[in-house]
Symmetry: C2
Subunit: 286 residues, 2 copies
DNA sequence: CATGATTACTGACTTTAGTCAGGCATTCCC
DNA sequence: GGGAATGCCTGACTAAAGTCAGTAATCATG
């Protein structure tokens, strides 16, 4: 079924989409214009999203700029990063693309009955969610890397928002930079270069391994990413010789607590004095 | 939802697919090799399926031929159309592509749980079916055109297979070539150049319009194509001034009979002496 | 059997996409 | 404050994709 789907849907609809998006301008330019959007975008962000060569992208930007569709100026913060914004003409062009995209969507739905339409859209949503889930890759990464930093920032932000008394990362028991082998490790989950989750492991010879910094982005919640991260951390803990893994957590993180219980963790007495922790869990490793 | 789907699924998976399919050969060549397949294919058929320029295709064929992957020889029937066949090496290459395609499919399913997998494949099947339904276009066409001939051949073949006593098209009450305005009209339903259904209307001033030659291919049955053809025929009958439309049918064509009943047709006495007809229906037009 | 349509092919092109190396300015990190 | 890293840019390429006009062979048709 997957193959059939790739062949028929992906190619047919993809071609249709490209045809609509193109029109009188090379496809790459239209895609770039579209990606910049009415609110503008940083060049670096666009580059990773579209996965373009830096030189190629620069040239495309120059073309659009000389066509009077965009202006590329200095960014707000980092002076190296430049931001592209649509001009008046660019906004008009963007609106045309937007309308065409709507027309394409409508042309797909138009011939169908109401029942078929609702079945199609819900099936599309399902495919999109599950495909997103399957595109999530989990791999080790240095905690200093940008991807890791992005995850950790999001992690701290989320804890600060959800803990009853906020969260001060300063008092943390572990410095992120310690989470490298052999003292520990850091895993990041990404979907197409965008980080969507992370998890860390602290290893002390002779002591149980400890799981820290488990976080999953809203955008992929409910797709089993947390479970996969947890499983991968356990596997690596076993590989490092640990026979027990433990962790602490806050009572407000109910999904996490449910995940731990469903994954074979049982509650244990406090093994540390983390002021934000209300529950301590452990799981013996085979 | 449709737009979101186009953007995320179509582009992401499409790119993945192309990446796998390519490898060490230009994408167009791989696609062509794949399209020819182990059973071979007529050049003309490939050309319409991939929608390639004749010159470009010819060049691609020459490249594959000089790489020893295919041989292009004369076709069986028409001496103008040539057929491409894979050589031994070509078959091996094709098998590699086939395996890669399998790997891609597996890489999509692999990270998912069993439940997610089955949900994904059924959602994909649903999307594919409904998208196919929405890609069906219905338009008038001269009965002499190749698309129309293909439909009529399939129509006759199907009647011959399903009628109790077979079917002899020779005794037909209406010559196909009469089905052009103003005496009648012929509609063909196509999905991406492939004809998948047809229907005809006979118009006599002062008499009821008559529906004939309604046929829908197996490949799109159950997607509402028959209903759309019927509706379009009725609309055109109204436009031509008819206030009643009627038709005859064979008792073995149960789906058709069900369609007529569900579409507001009621059974009437025989209005002709078609030896293959068991039921006669009519519907007043608004 | 002449005529026009269809099919495939060739040669001469253009455009698009993409790569690579080197350079300059800015920022990060001890 | 001095590398090292990062982000963007330019110039010089290459390969792939696609277009167009003209030609030869074959077929359908009156």
């Amino acid at each position: 079924m997957v193959r059939r789907f790739n062949r028929s849907v992906t190619q047919r609809v993809g071609a249709l989409d490209d045809g609509y998006l193109s029109r009188d301008r090379p496809l790459a330019q239209s895609r770039l214009l579209w990606e910049i959007g009415p609110v503008g975008a940083e060049v670096a962000a666009v580059r990773t999203r579209l996965d373009l060569d830096a030189g190629y992208l620069s040239r495309l930007l120059r073309t659009l700029e000389s066509a009077g569709l965009i202006v590329v100026g200095p960014g707000a913060g980092d002076g190296r990063v430049r931001t592209a914004r649509l001009t008046e003409a660019g906004r008009a062009e963007w609106a045309v693309l937007d309308r065409k995209s709507d027309e394409l969507a409508w042309s797909v739905l138009e011939p169908l009955t109401d029942g078929q339409r609702s079945r199609l859209t819900s099936a599309m949503a399902e495919v999109e969610r599950l495909l997103m889930a399957s595109l999530v890759t989990i791999e080790p990464c240095h905690p200093g890397e940008p991807r890791a930093r992005a995850c950790l920032r999001a992690y701290v932000r989320e804890l600060a928002a959800r803990f009853d008394a906020g969260f001060d990362p300063g008092g943390s028991s572990v410095d992120d930079h310690e989470l490298v082998p052999p003292a520990g490790l850091f895993l990041v989950a990404t979907v197409a270069t965008e980080p969507v989750g992370c998890g860390a492991l602290r290893l002390c010879p002779g002591e149980p391994a400890e799981i820290k910094r488990l976080w999953v982005s809203d955008s992929v919640r409910g797709l089993g990413v947390g479970r996969r991260l947890l499983g991968e951390l356990e596997r690596r803990a076993v590989a490092a010789g640990a026979d027990l893994v433990r962790l602490d957590t806050n009572r407000n993180l109910t999904e996490a607590i449910r995940l731990y219980r469903n994954s074979g963790y049982h509650e244990i007495p406090a093994y540390n004095s983390n002021p934000y922790a209300h529950h301590w869990f452990a799981k013996p490793l085979a």
